[in-house]
């Protein structure tokens, strides 16, 4: 399965899976870039323009890809952790984000004026609410040993209704310069704010992995839970923690989503994002059965999905039909990445090389 034992650094090794986990995402990005270059090179043009508020902002397809994939990228971070630790996926993130967004709006609406303090308080509350629901999912998974998909099916079923209930059956709007700034651009900075938030999240998680042993612990729990427990790792706590981290990601994604639109619609906020987030994790080369993981892969995966969507939009595909084309690309990607195909390809390449040059094969085998 994991055939990155051979580590020869020639160009062919990329095609043989020499990049390890990141092979598929990099191939996918390369394919998309080449396709777009052939189709229409102006796809990649980036320019400056001034928006309604008179700020100078960056503009272009690439920027809109990076901007609109923000929620997905944030969720992919948390989803990777949960996948790695529990060997299953959380399908309730969209619903949980709706709840977090509702809580966010509820606090914003409570005061007469929306100041910086209110926004921070609202965000903190949204985080707390999302963490509580994350802990609920986590308890079911870690303590009651229920499959993550089944456990989160509960919140998937009723989450959006809870969001509806929080706001008393309405879809309130919020309008404030601060919310607009979070959702689009901060005056004076040409980069969209959601992108900055994603970068901050990535840095935070990198620091977390740098200064704690969370990454190692998560991987060991995911690879073999009972072995990890026998080595003195509190597997229950690690699993629970991964869900709580996902909760924070959900809250951030929910708040970005709400700020972007300036309203909370419990039915359509981040609709179907759970499937995309899981897809991002899978495209990133992470094993959905848990174990070793790479956050960078998942984030790349998120951008690939968005790049694909925007490419399709640029080709004038109606938004309702995008899914069908997306599915075809997904199937091609996973077939390329499937262990059986990889094995066959590797064998084929080795045979080819053996015929060409036997000594090179021997050296490659030693290295």
């Amino acid at each position: 399965m994991k055939d990155n034992t051979k580590k020869s650094f020639d160009i062919k090794s990329i095609f043989r899976g020499g990049l390890g986990q990141l092979t598929i995402p990099i191939i996918a990005i390369a394919l998309l870039v080449i396709f777009n270059l052939i189709r229409d090179p102006s796809f990649f043009s980036i320019g400056f323009s001034s928006n309604n508020e008179g700020n100078t902002v960056l503009e272009g397809n690439l920027i809109s890809i990076i901007n609109s994939a923000s929620e997905l990228a944030v969720l992919a971070i948390g989803m990777t952790l949960v996948t790695a630790a529990c060997g299953g996926q959380d399908i309730s993130v969209g619903a949980a984000a709706a709840i977090a967004g509702s809580a966010f709006v509820k606090v914003l609406k409570s005061g007469s004026e929306i100041g910086a303090g209110t926004v921070i308080a609202a965000f903190v509350l949204a985080c707390v609410v999302a963490m509580i629901f994350g802990a609920f999912n986590g308890t079911l998974v870690a303590v009651f040993k229920i499959q993550p998909m089944i456990a989160t099916l509960i919140l998937y079923t009723c989450g959006r209704s809870i969001a509806y209930w929080i706001n008393g059956g309405a879809t309130p709007t919020v309008s404030s310069p601060i919310i607009t700034a979070i959702g689009s651009f901060i005056p004076g900075i040409p980069v969209p704010t959601p992108v900055i938030i994603v970068i901050v999240m990535i840095v935070l998680f990198k620091l977390l992995f740098r200064f704690t042993s969370l990454e190692l612990l998560t991987q060991s729990v995911g690879i073999n839970g009972s072995a990890a427990r026998l080595n003195g790792i509190n597997t229950t706590f690690i699993k629970l923690l991964s869900f709580i981290f996902l909760g924070i990601c959900v809250a951030v994604a929910g708040c970005i989503g709400v700020s972007r639109l300036g309203l909370i619609n419990h039915e359509t906020l981040l609709l179907d994002i759970e499937m995309d987030a899981i897809l991002a994790v899978a495209i990133g080369g992470n094993n959905l059965g848990g174990g070793r993981f790479k956050i960078s892969g998942s984030i790349l995966g998120a951008y690939i999905i968005q790049m694909l969507t925007i490419t399709l939009y640029a080709m004038k595909v109606p938004s309702t039909d995008v899914k069908a084309y997306k599915a075809i690309v997904i199937v091609i990607l996973v077939v390329i990445g499937s262990p059986v195909v990889k094995q066959k390809f590797n064998r084929f390449m080795t045979q080819l090389q053996m015929k060409k040059n036997q000594t090179a094969v021997k050296e490659g085998g030693k290295a």
Binding site: Q89, L140, F144, K145, I146, Q147, M149, I150, A151, L153, I154, L155, Y156, T157, C158, G159, R160, S161, I162, Y164, W165, G169, M275, I278, L279, A282, L288, G289, P318, T320, D321, V322, K323, A324, Y325, K326, A327, I328, I330, V331, V334, V335, S338, P339, V340, V341
Partner: protein, 343 residues
């Protein structure tokens, strides 16, 4: 409930979970009959539940087979929707009923075969493959038609109107006319499929092999079971049943719509779980799934009947009930495990 007292054969996990579900369903329905009365006293209520959910029952059967084999298929709802839309368009463009049935079966089979081949022979994770299948089917449905389409086919509409009327199960309406119990043809299809799948799982070799590969893949392989082919077969059956479910859905609604059967995959998974199927594989029973579907749909009726009219209560109660069943299963199974270890 039966007790394991050494003399009798102890209940297997499958039977235990199924028994719990059936008991709870009967208790729930009984309470509804006593406290809510109204429609619950008429047999027609049960018929209505069946009429509305025949396609869900069929899909859940297919999903149960896949889940017993240790897999998952989340494309079922989308395939149902695609089948409905294609059949409606085919009928409206002058197709025959026989042809439309073949088309429905063909679509289902095609999805089953492609997904099954990708999952079992190329060893790709089932969740991703069927997710792609779901995206494809949903997307293709809207490519076929974004607008709702109504069936405009004389023979089909006649078939659709055909209902089985059972007079002695009917009731007398307030104005004195006698209304017989009405059941749609789709219900018969659904019930036949439940029985067939039950027999397949219980008495035939492929059925037993599904349990074997779901329970422990390695030991199944050592027993000489062709694991890949068995897994492939489970997805093919599931795909086929999605196709049939699409046809039954069309018989019920008589129209195709891009949002048809939205969320059906999750309802089907929930029905299977309530019926005692474990996602880990190896445990499950299609009779339990049938009662699972009934429980899931009855609770929604009860919520409406008891006057909780706010739109959020239905799904919040469904979620709560799901939570209850999932926790119950977890507790029951872990207690049994402990007992097994102790003895």
């Amino acid at each position: 409930m039966k007790k394991n007292n050494g003399f009798r054969e102890p209940l297997t996990d499958t039977q235990l979970l199924m028994t719990i579900t059936i008991c709870i369903f009967i208790a729930m329905y009984g309470l509804a009959m006593i406290f809510l009365q109204g429609g619950f006293l008429h047999v027609q209520q049960v018929f209505d539940l069946l009429n509305d959910n025949a396609s869900l029952i069929i899909v859940s059967c297919g999903l149960t087979i896949v889940m017993i084999g240790g897999g998952i298929d989340i494309s079922v709802g989308a395939v149902t929707s695609l089948t409905v839309m294609s059949c409606v368009l085919y009928l409206n463009n002058g197709g025959s009923i026989f042809g439309s049935i073949l088309l429905a079966l063909g679509i289902g089979l095609a999805f089953g075969i492609i997904q099954g081949a990708l999952i079992s022979y190329l060893e790709i994770q089932p969740f991703i493959v069927t997710l792609a299948g779901m995206f494809f089917a949903r997307g293709f449905t809207t490519i076929l038609s974004v607008n709702p389409q109504k069936v405009d086919h004389e023979a089909f509409n006649k078939l659709r109107e055909t209902k089985i009327e059972i007079d002695w199960l009917g009731y007398t309406a307030k104005n004195g006319t006698r209304i017989p119990g009405r059941m749609e043809l789709g219900v018969i299809v659904a019930l036949v499929i439940v029985v067939l799948v039950f027999i397949l799982l219980q008495y035939f070799k492929p059925g037993r092999e599904f349990y074997a590969i779901g329970g422990n893949q390695t030991s199944a392989l050592m027993l000489g079971i062709n694991v890949k082919r068995t897994r492939f077969l489970s997805y093919v059956i599931c795909g086929l049943l999605s196709g049939i479910s699409g046809y039954v859905f069309m018989m019920h609604t008589g129209a195709g719509n891009a949002t048809n059967a939205a969320g059906m995959e999750m309802n089907a998974i929930a029905s299977s779980i309530i019926g005692g199927t474990l996602l880990t594989g190896g445990v499950g029973n299609v009779a339990g799934t049938f009662f699972g579907t009934m429980t899931l749909t009855t609770i929604k009726k009860i919520v409406v009947a008891s006057g909780l009219n706010d739109p959020w209560w239905q799904s919040i109660t469904t979620g709560g009930m799901l939570c209850f069943f999932i926790l119950l299963q977890s507790v029951v199974l872990s207690r049994r495990e402990k007992k097994k270890k102790a003895s």
